[in-house]
């Protein structure tokens, strides 16, 4: 167990190193830079901006900057934003809640709906329901998330006026109800793709379990079909789903980013786009690393839980 953990930790560190290398080289090799946003400031000159860039250490060779940044990261210093000078971790922390809220609520929707559709589809295989679910899932996977968001805004905010077009809450009315009201549309939009994925996997997993011996045995013992389903089938089918949840994290995070841009949701996705616009390298790098770490932890947790739940799997 310990060896497994250490091995995974080592792999993860190498992974993070690669991620950081990719990100850093892309950012710093590109033209432009954080001084561009000040271009049309009255009275400013190129020489002046160059001097300030130099003060910020941006004129050093890329490798030196990378080493400097990496050394900071190792010591737990993720750097400071070029924009407001606050520590990167603090900034990401400030946007974390919004993104997690969105991801969390849409996962709840996706898991709930997806599990139900998947199991029902598997049990009533080749029924109208199953067929509709299959086609529906394929289409759901094909709709661009941002466009679905736009269409939803058009229908539910502009035409019907039922739901707010964006933001996480109304200023001065930060009640739970108000949050929920704002949460409905973005979490539904984000959930769409995930319902599709979950229902497809759940259907496959359930089908695999249904045909296994222990289910047949349980049925032969005379247990009611419903009990067999709930106790033996669903329980066992959910195990691979845990791994899936881990693997789906990057997709979910990416989806959240897209959804946030359409609904002006104040989360990490919006922070990322803003930071890109201002070439705020420390924050961009921080977000890249943070999401990579999140994904790695997600995968690891999924593996561990699977091993814990399923006695057949031993971690070497």
């Amino acid at each position: 167990m310990l060896r497994f953990l250490l091995g995974r930790l080592g792999q993860s560190l190498i992974l993070l190193f690669i991620v950081s290398l990719i990100g850093f080289s892309v950012l710093l090799l590109a033209p432009g830079g954080p001084m561009s946003q000040f271009a049309l400031t009255p009275g400013i000159s190129k020489a002046e901006l160059d001097k300030i860039a130099a003060q910020m250490g941006l004129d050093r060779p890329i490798l030196v900057q990378y080493a400097d940044w990496l050394w900071g990261l190792v010591r737990g210093d993720w750097g400071n934003s070029f924009r407001d000078g606050r520590p990167v971790l603090e900034i990401i922390g400030g946007h974390l809640f919004a993104t997690l809220l969105l991801m969390g609520s849409s996962t709840v929707i996706a898991v709930g709906l997806g599990t139900w559709i998947g199991i029902k589809g598997a049990v009533k295989r080749y029924s109208m329901f199953d067929y509709a679910a299959t086609v529906g899932a394929m289409i759901a996977l094909s709709i661009p998330t941002f466009w679905f968001g736009l269409v939803s805004i058009y229908i539910f905010s502009l035409r019907l006026g039922w739901l707010p077009a964006g933001n996480m809450f109304t200023i001065g009315d930060q009640t739970v109800l108000d949050y929920l009201h704002h949460l409905i549309m973005p979490s539904m939009v984000l959930a769409l793709v995930n319902v599709a994925i979950w229902s497809r996997y759940m259907r496959t997993a359930t089908l695999e379990v249904i045909n296994q011996d222990f289910v047949k045995t349980a049925r032969a013992k005379g247990l009611s079909p419903r009990r067999v389903l709930m106790k033996h089938v669903v329980g066992n089918a959910l195990i691979p789903m845990i791994t899936l949840a881990g693997l789906q994290l990057p997709t979910l995070l990416g989806g959240a980013l897209v959804t946030e841009t359409v609904f002006t949701w104040p989360g990490m996705g919006r922070l990322f786009l803003d930071s890109l616009g201002y070439s705020d390298y420390p924050v961009i790098m921080g977000l890249l690393m943070f999401s990579a770490i999140l994904v790695i932890i997600g995968n690891l947790a999924a593996d561990l839980i699977t091993a814990f739940v399923d006695p057949r799997i031993r971690l070497a």
Partner: protein, 292 residues
């Protein structure tokens, strides 16, 4: 990719059976029909319409669909949306297709090499794959797109850079499982070179999964192009793409919703088509699945 010889031995079923299974897969056929119709429409469409996709007529701006000969209406510059949609389709489909070609070549190469050699080289290659997979592709994609001159070629490359990993993973797993099979051992004993074994013996046997994953890659590439162009980092005007037709559509959502709806439907149709076909191919190429 369809030029690739279909497998003659190994896991995949023979060609005629594959074709039959594919054709029995109703969704796949629907998907194929969608793709063919869209492609033909994009190639032929611009000649059939009375409007030039670039012709600006500010007096005719924001005409709703079915105004005169503007079947899908006009955009904020009074250009015919139908004409633009077809031209945009050419761009978007081409970008999607070329991104697929590049990422499939790269992914296959990495996958075959990593799977066949295994060991340290394989481990390093697959860690790089994991590295790319371990943060949302959209982060990397936007980071690249935000700093690169946005030409169709660069957008294609950027999309390919962020979507070759799935192919690599699938191929690596397949090759690894085939590596110890008799026909490979035999080839090795015959003294065939590694590259011969990898690309002449192993590759044809993983063609099935590659085709499936290539099809899904096109679908994904079209979505990615749409998203970065929507944010303004993608294909630049006046060259239309389905994504950049949506750029700015949010602003006119209340007054001219067709600006958002028409290209969005086109994207959804195209992507659905490729997903259907990919799904059908997967079923058709997988001997284990039953389609009764």
């Amino acid at each position: 990719m369809t030029e690739l010889p279909l497998p003659t031995y190994g896991t995949a079923p023979p060609r005629n059976r594959t074709l039959r299974r594919f054709l029995r897969h109703r969704l796949a056929v629907v998907g194929l029909a969608i793709i063919v119709i869209l492609t033909v429409a994009c190639i032929v469409g611009p000649w059939l319409l009375p409007y030039d996709q670039l012709y600006i007529d500010l007096r005719a701006r924001f005409a709703p669909p079915m105004t005169g000969a503007h079947i899908f209406g006009t955009d904020p510059l009074g250009r015919d949306i139908a004409a633009r949609l077809f031209m945009a389709g050419r761009v978007s489909l081409l970008v999607g297709f070329m991104a697929m070609v590049i990422s499939t070549i790269v992914g296959t190469f990495v996958g075959v090499v990593a799977g066949y050699h295994g060991g340290r080289l394989g481990a390093v290659l697959m860690r790089i794959v994991d590295g790319f997979l371990s943060f949302p592709a959209i982060f990397l994609l936007l980071t690249l797109a935000a700093f690169v001159k946005p030409s169709p070629f660069m957008i294609t490359v950027i999309i390919a850079v962020t979507s070759w990993m799935q192919v690599a993973r699938v191929v690596e797993a397949e090759v690894r499982s085939l590596r110890e099979r008799d026909f490979i051992l035999a080839a090795r004993m015959l003294g065939l070179s590694s590259s011969h074994i990898m690309f002449r013996e192993l590759l044809p046997n993983v063609a099935g999964p590659i085709i499936v994953s290539a099809t899904l890659t096109i679908a994904n590439a079209i979505l990615l192009e749409a998203y970065i162009s929507f944010l303004g980092y993608g294909i630049q005007p006046p060259l239309p793409s389905w994504g950049n037709m949506l750029n700015g559509a949010q602003q006119y959502l209340a007054t001219a919703p067709w600006l958002a709806i028409v290209p969005g439907v086109a994207i959804t149709l195209a992507v659905t088509g490729f997903n259907f076909v990919g799904d059908g191919l997967r079923d058709a190429l997988d001997a284990r699945s039953d389609l009764s």
